[in-house]
Amino acid sequence: MTEYSRMAKGHYTVSGGSIGVSAPNAKVINLPFQPDYVEFINYTEASAGTDDAVPFAWWDKDMGQGFAVIQRSSGSGAMVSDVVEANGISSFSAGLALQFGARQQVVGATAANPIVFNVTAHGYSSGDVVMFQGLYQTQFTAGMPQIDGMMFTITVTDADHFSIPWNGNQSNYTALSASPTGAYVKKVLYPYLYFPGVAIISAITLNTPTGYTTVDTTSAHNFVVGQEVAFRIPPNWGTIELNSLPNNVVPGSPIYGYVVSVTDYNTFVVNIDSSSYTAFNSNQTVASVPGGDFPQVVAVGDVNTGGVQLSAGSQLYPPPQYRPIGNVLVNTINGPAIQGAFVNNTRQGFVIGVGFAKGDTTAFLGGAANDVIYWRAFSHDMNVV
């Protein structure tokens, strides 16, 4: 082995997915280098030999991003050689913001709460963040372009559908159908490079619980208890009393709130008594779209920290974590840090995706829930072609 090559190994337990039925969640492995070769063994499935399982896989970057060569079980105990041609194994370097995946045509969307989108073979995973554009059923008069440009965390329903946390069951929203011209969605590749960041507000529930305010966001807010936050609510969205300035009580003094509880990735409670405030209104008109502003919440404060109480069994210095969906906490590669402070989450490594075998579309690369996968990753000195 020459001096600049890098090697790493590890293992993890798969979350989500069922053999022959559904794909597991994509697995992101952060490394101090970008591998050009990855291989893994699914020990659980190699032992069980279940039909449609993928016990072995290999990937070289020269195959292309998202490809893989696999061995899958055929059900009779025999192994079959096959390949994955999309959403297989890929490397990544998450260093720069504002990078997007390929745009995909939106086939349709329900005017419901939550809005469910139909995008043929979208290839996304729950917890991915997407952005829409051109969501008009009739150009410039009807549809749901009010949500264009916002970042949304999605929950995948099936291979062709996913939902977003937004109430489309309102008078100014019209369902989309028949693949409207110009209606696209694309994935935000690295949504949490720096967090906590700007979060778009999808709903504000006043005086809930009593004396407090509950806030929902379109993607992960990544706030922690004790975090100081500020609001930017444009006038047509209603609850302008939350805005930092102007402060009618103490002119020139910004109004801030503290997060008192975090319900999940996109819901938190602040210690602002909103009982007399104007109701939040997300029922924006299509006509308001050109130049329209979005309601936002941002982390603020001289000491921007929430802190984490130490308790029995806790790590003394846990790394900063982000919360992409539900209450799943993902460690960053950083060392000890104050929880709630701004975190640089730039990173690189590889992803085991949600793809399936070319010869058997129910043989998913990443295994099933609770499978144990052992992986090795390499970055070679030389690539001779």
Partner: protein, 206 residues
């Protein structure tokens, strides 16, 4: 590299205003002169400090006085849009070349509109094909003086590391070139910074 990190940090952490006074019908729209005025008014209301004092008018052909101003960091790809604002009434764009004196102008300064002086860079943040109509979205960061800080950690300002290939092996084939730094960024006053998002009214020639 340090600048790119600070740039992306601000994109992620500072609040945003969509330009709405342009004429291209997109969201955000292209920049209109009133977008500059609205952002400057917002920062004034929030008691942000301006970076530059004004430049008094002089008896020189083609020049005009420059107001005290905040800085806006923009993409070079928007320079055509700024030029198109020249002569807009009232105010409009004033090229840096039309300042009464260039003594206080920075090398990257393109000009000014109302209370905002514009610095351009090819490394300014752009979200490609991300607007309502699928156009590029430009992040124009408008700053008050007290908005952000950038802290180099003790003893870790940027180091350029170069190791000659002579030391890497007997065939002396591989050199090492790298930079190393430790820094922290912070928004010290969130009410004194805004990302003014806009599209362009023009298609860039390449």
């Amino acid at each position: 590299m340090e600048d790119l990190i600070l740039r992306d940090y601000i994109v992620s952490a500072a609040s945003q205003i969509n330009a709405g006074n342009g004429t291209n019908g997109d969201n955000p729209t292209n920049l209109g002169v009133n977008d500059f005025s609205l952002v400057a008014t917002s920062l004034d209301t929030n008691n942000a400090y301006k970076f530059m004092s004004g430049i008094e008018g002089m008896d020189r052909f083609g020049t005009g006085p420059v107001r005290s101003a905040y800085f806006m960091l923009s993409s070079t790809e928007l320079q055509t849009d700024f030029d198109a604002l020249a002569g807009s009434s009232p105010g409009g764009f004033l090229s840096q070349w039309n300042y009464p004196t260039n003594a206080s102008a920075l090398p990257s300064e393109y000009g000014s509109v109302f209370n905002i002086r514009i610095l351009t860079s090819s490394e300014a943040p752009v979200a490609r094909a991300a607007s309502d109509m699928g156009n590029d979205i430009y992040y124009n960061t408008v700053l008050g003086k007290q908005a952000i800080t950038h802290i180099n950690q003790d003893g870790f300002s940027m180091n350029l590391i170069y190791r000659d290939p002579y030391y890497s092996g007997m065939l002396a084939q591989n050199a090492t070139l790298a930079v190393k730094f430790a820094q922290a960024q912070a928004i010290t006053q969130d009410t004194a910074i805004r990302n003014l998002l806009s599209t362009s009214a023009f298609i860039l020639a390449v």
